[in-house]
Symmetry: C2
Subunit: 204 residues, 2 copies
């Protein structure tokens, strides 16, 4: 008898349902990232899972809810990068940010792609929730940059534009990165970190 | 009698047709950039122009041809940035590249958006043609960077990744730029140029 069979029935069901939702989000994330949200039907998502279109609604409320869950998951993984920054000087913290951010982009490529491209198709209140997470994340990078300016290790005219510049350079990786290529996320972070420090007016 | 009326009939017709195609590309560019290529029907493009869907086919061959023309136009405007770089040192040339690239992104926002997002939906031989233009453009930036390394004004470990980094930082502007805001393309170039020079290991 497997360990799972000892779970009380309700927990077992919730466990199975979580796995099912995970599968749905992965299938939808792949399709949304490849063809876009509007061009992907609930039927197409179901087909990926060998389900009837209608039976998907036993697990999800709407296609938009699926989009929201994908985008929110990506947003939370990015937020965790900021929450887990090491103590230390601004240079070390910015480099840890760069490495952590690139790891999310690379490890969650379809989710990150949907986060970057498709979040704008959310309606309220979903959209406001995601905008809040995005703004907080960008503000956190801006504060890292400002801390470095106060420490005297960065020279930046406009920390807001500098944060947008750095995020753009990091995010764009999703456009050309192919898993299994010569570059892992660690190597990418190693090369990108001095580029970012240099942009911020520190020694690369 | 207007000057235009003196044109020979054939040239007049070609002239009018050019204007009509321009209108079609602008309408399609707006829709593709807002909702994506796959989610935009020929009927929706026609509706923007107060035309019947079918009558659009008097001017265009297919929706994909419209996508190709939009993407190619953006690619050629970017290519012109490289063709029109001033003579001079690598620092001046990189900054001219930054300003020129940002000007295209900002002035052709819907076209640039479609170029960044939707080109992947082209089929061959369209796709190969655009890939060629994209690769040549990125290679030109890489050469600018390498020239700066030879001159001793840049320090860059991996010129290929550095070019991708810079292009990402510049391209990402399409995600947040809103025409009519506080930043014109000139001001944006003024702030971004030292960020790029710094990233490349030169003095910002």
């Amino acid at each position: 008898m497997s360990g799972v069979a000892f779970l009380p029935n309700e927990r077992l069901l919730a466990w199975r349902e979580m796995g099912r939702i995970e599968e749905i989000l992965n299938a939808a994330g792949k399709l949304f990232s490849e063809r876009g949200y509007h061009a992907t039907s609930v039927r197409a998502i179901a087909r990926q899972l060998d389900l009837q279109g209608g039976s998907l609604y036993a697990h999800i409320e709407s296609k938009e809810e699926v989009l929201f869950q994908i985008v929110e998951r990506a947003a939370k993984r990015f937020a965790a990068v900021v929450e887990n920054l090491p103590e230390g000087g601004a240079r070390e913290r910015v480099c840890a940010f760069v490495r952590g951010h690139l790891r999310v982009v690379v490890e969650e490529l379809p989710y990150a792609t949907v986060f970057f491209h498709e979040w704008k198709f959310l309606s309220e209140p979903y959209k406001a929730r995601i905008r809040e997470l995005r703004d907080a994340y960008e503000a956190a990078l801006k504060e890292l940059i400002e801390a470095g300016v106060r420490e005297g290790v960065f020279r930046v005219e406009d920390p807001d534009l500098a944060a947008k510049f750095v995020l753009g350079a990091l995010n764009w990786v999703y456009q050309w990165y192919r898993p299994g290529g010569r570059l892992g996320p660690e190597e990418l972070g190693r090369v990108f970190c001095p580029l970012v420090l240099g942009a911020l007016g520190g020694e690369g």
